[in-house]
């Protein structure tokens, strides 16, 4: 799209002019000066980042932005959101337009290296799947030879799709549309046989956007690993640490049974780990360059990981997702916080 070119040129110009504000010092100083965290999110993916009718953003990705704001300012509302398409997201982060990219972005080697990003711990373990209309009578992804597949461009999804069909020796016809709404419309109008994206996103699309959710099934195969999490610019370790440990703090809190409801009582806990986490024993906050109450503020205003998960994508929401690999390591999942000490 032409606006896209202009945006990209603008970004190039922004990089060219040095974006001095963003790189004047560590990102934290710039953020403190602004008084808010600028966070890049999805343009609308229920459960992960979606604006409601009043323009309030909700979702798992959104909550981690709020958690970072709570850690820095003690106020989960000190965030401004920039909705970004898959195509815009990296240049927006590189050029300093946003401070954190929290937009169901897959952590990959190339992105971690040549794209100049640093990934904070994974906040959601996902995998790419396929959705088809029930009327097609397909029950497995191995039966998709010759299918037409709707996919959004510029994502790992597009690459995994090609890899999967190549590996299985099958053919497919891609329909690549950038706009989220247009690609959904194309699938639901029958332009494609198959829709592919991350399984969680697909559950969200089926439950909230399908004309009749029961007409569509999600095939059992997951064809990739999609660790999704927030990313920051390479080269600012201080800010990277803050984002990283904010995620760990929500996991540590869940593991230790600290949640937004009992966090005040937990201040009096005798458990030394909880004391360090909540700042009753000082030291951790200072190490991060933050207030000692940083983690307390995160948990008090946003909640621990389990609360964030259940509130946005859990079994009681429209997405109805089980914890699965997103359970704590103590419950057989992959979620593991590094020791807060």
């Amino acid at each position: 799209m032409k606006t896209k070119i202009i945006a990209a040129m603008g970004t190039a110009l922004a990089i060219a002019l040095g974006s001095t504000a963003a790189f004047a010092g560590p990102t934290l100083n710039a953020v403190k000066q602004k008084g808010f965290v600028q966070c890049g999110v999805n343009t609308g993916l229920p459960g992960f980042s979606n604006p409601d009718s009043q323009g309030n953003w909700t979702g798992l990705d959104v909550d981690f932005c709020r958690a970072v704001a709570a850690a820095i300012f003690g106020d989960a509302k000190a965030v401004r959101f920039t909705p970004l398409s898959a195509q815009q997201r990296f240049t927006a982060l590189q050029s300093g337009e946003i401070d954190i990219l929290s937009r169901n972005t897959t952590w990959t080697l190339t992105r971690d290296t040549s794209l100049g990003l640093n990934f904070a711990p994974t906040t959601f373990y996902d995998g790419q799947g396929f959705m088809v209309p029930k009327a097609l009578g397909v029950s497995s992804a191995t039966e998709l030879n010759g299918a037409t597949v709707c996919v959004q461009p510029g994502t790992t999804t597009e690459l995994n799709l090609a890899d999967y069909f190549r590996a299985k020796g099958m053919q497919f016809q891609p329909v690549v549309i950038e706009s989220f709404d247009e690609v959904n419309a194309a699938f639901f109008s029958g332009r494609c046989d198959v829709y592919t994206t991350d399984a969680s996103g697909m559950a969200s699309i089926r439950s909230t956007l399908a004309p009749n959710p029961d007409d569509y099934i999600i095939l059992p195969e997951l064809i990739s690993k999609e660790p999704l999490g927030p990313a920051v610019r390479h080269g600012d370790d201080e800010f990277y640490d803050i984002v990283k440990w904010t995620v760990y703090a929500t996991l540590e809190a869940e593991e230790k049974g600290v949640n937004s409801g009992n966090v005040d009582e937990m201040l009096k806990s005798q458990d030394p780990t909880i004391q360090r986490l909540l700042g009753s024993t000082p030291g951790v906050g200072q190490a991060l360059g933050l207030d000692e109450k940083w983690a307390y503020n995160v948990i008090k205003t946003v909640g621990n990981y389990g609360e964030i998960f259940e509130r946005n994508v859990g079994v009681k929401t429209a997405l109805k997702l089980e914890r699965g690999p997103n359970a704590l390591w103590t419950n057989g999942g992959l979620m593991y916080a590094m020791p807060v000490r």
């Binding site: 990296f90 590189q94 037409t148 497919f172 891609p174 332009r191």
Partner: protein, 399 residues
């Protein structure tokens, strides 16, 4: 310009000795050097800043990514392409797709625009009014909306492949596109194509010879009949010489979709339709104004000479109108070509779509954007050069 105003016969006294500061020529050169220096400095500042910032953020630079495997699929391609091909091949596929839609679009928009433009001048009330409604509605609605409209019309109104419409045997209309039988692969088709090109060249030479002969001797030669003969006979003979293959590649429903035959995808159809209809409305106005600009007296004079209506238009009015029509039409051709980049919104894999994907998969924003800019600049300058050449050719020859 003080020097040139002093004519040879002027009585002005000997010019006083000027200092260099007051010499306008020196001043002009000085300021131009200053501006040029400023531009160069600014450019150097921007480039060095980009490189420094990219290096600081650990972002790779350079065009070496072009040789890497693209690993993404492209919906339609005029050359062999698979996800195992390189980024440069992917970009070339996108480039060819852009060219395809631009060339076809320019061709069709010119025809449609000329028809509508002439229709607006029609003495038939209904025809003239319909043409003006077309122009006013179409050129006042943004082209992006029109693309969405046509794409929605095609993908929503047509049935799925299993219920495809079958208006004529072998032709299938579905939301996967229009499928129709193509000629089965045979080496002779390449030769038939070459024969057709040869025939076109032959016709051109024939027309030239016929005109020269008429100018010299006054004798007319049945050029039209002979041309049709050559155009039909030469490819037909080649085809017959190749064993006259008649095998057709008929589309068949297999699994999810049709196999075989020729396909026009909904994305391509919607883009072409949108661009042609939109641009034609502007061309129509250009054609109308061009024809109106030719004095009515010319038409009357030509009629008085006994020319038919068609001959009046072809020999008297159009040659004069073309001089007015061609330059603004060039702009419309450029607009159509550049608007084809809106393809990304409806999923047609044009250059911008492929380059955007490349940009995103590699993170090479500056490189990808500069490739896009260079390609569009080249295409636009090419169209411009061709149209300028054509404009000079048809320009009023002053003796």
């Amino acid at each position: 310009m003080a020097i040139s105003t002093r004519g040879p016969g002027s009585l002005a006294p000997q010019a006083p000795r000027r200092s260099l500061i007051n010499d306008p020529n020196v001043r002009a050169i000085f300021f131009q050097i200053l501006v040029l220096g400023g531009v160069v400095l600014l450019g150097w500042y921007l480039v060095s800043n980009v490189l420094e910032n990219l290096a600081r953020q650990n972002i790779a630079t350079g065009f070496s990514f072009l040789d890497r495997e693209a690993s993404f699929a492209i919906g339609e391609s005029m050359i062999a392409y698979s996800p195992a091909s390189s980024y440069s091949q992917a970009l070339f596929v996108g480039f060819l797709n852009t060219i395809k839609v631009a060339v076809l679009g320019i061709f069709l928009a010119t025809i449609l625009g000329t028809i509508i433009g002439i229709a607006r001048l029609s003495s038939n009330f209904l025809v003239a009014k319909l043409a003006s409604i077309y122009v006013e509605v179409i050129r006042n609605v943004p082209v992006l909306l029109q693309l969405f409209f046509w794409y929605a019309v095609i993908s929503e109104s047509l049935p799925g492949p299993r219920q495809a419409l079958n208006p004529v045997p072998g032709v299938f209309l579905s939301n996967r596109g229009m499928k129709f039988p193509g000629l089965a692969d045979d080496p002779i088709w390449t030769w038939v194509g070459l024969a057709l090109v040869a025939a076109i060249v032959g016709v051109w030479l024939l027309a030239r010879w016929a005109r020269k002969r008429q100018e010299a001797t006054g004798q007319q030669f049945p050029v039209v009949l002979a041309s049709i003969g050559v155009l039909v006979a030469l490819p037909l003979l080649t085809w017959a010489a190749g064993g006259a293959p008649t095998a057709l590649d008929v589309p068949e429903l297999q699994g999810f979709n049709f196999r075989g035959g020729i396909n026009i995808s909904p994305e391509f159809a919607a883009l072409l339709l949108g661009l042609v209809i939109y641009t034609a409305s502007f061309i129509a106005e250009i054609v109308r104004s061009g024809i109106r600009a030719v004095n009515w007296g010319q038409t009357e004079a030509a009629s008085a000479l006994g020319l038919h209506r068609g001959e009046v238009l072809r020999l008297v009015v159009l040659p004069q109108a073309l001089r007015i029509i061609v330059p603004p039409t060039t702009s419309q051709y450029l607009n159509l070509t550049k608007n084809s980049s809106l393809a990304v919104a409806i999923g047609y894999p044009d250059l911008v779509s492929v380059a955007n994907t490349t940009l995103n998969q590699t993170g090479q924003a500056i490189e990808a954007v500069s490739i896009m800019m260079a390609v569009y600049l080249t295409i636009s300058l090419g169209i411009s050069l061709f149209m300028n050449w054509y404009n000079t050719r048809i320009a009023l020859v002053e003796r």
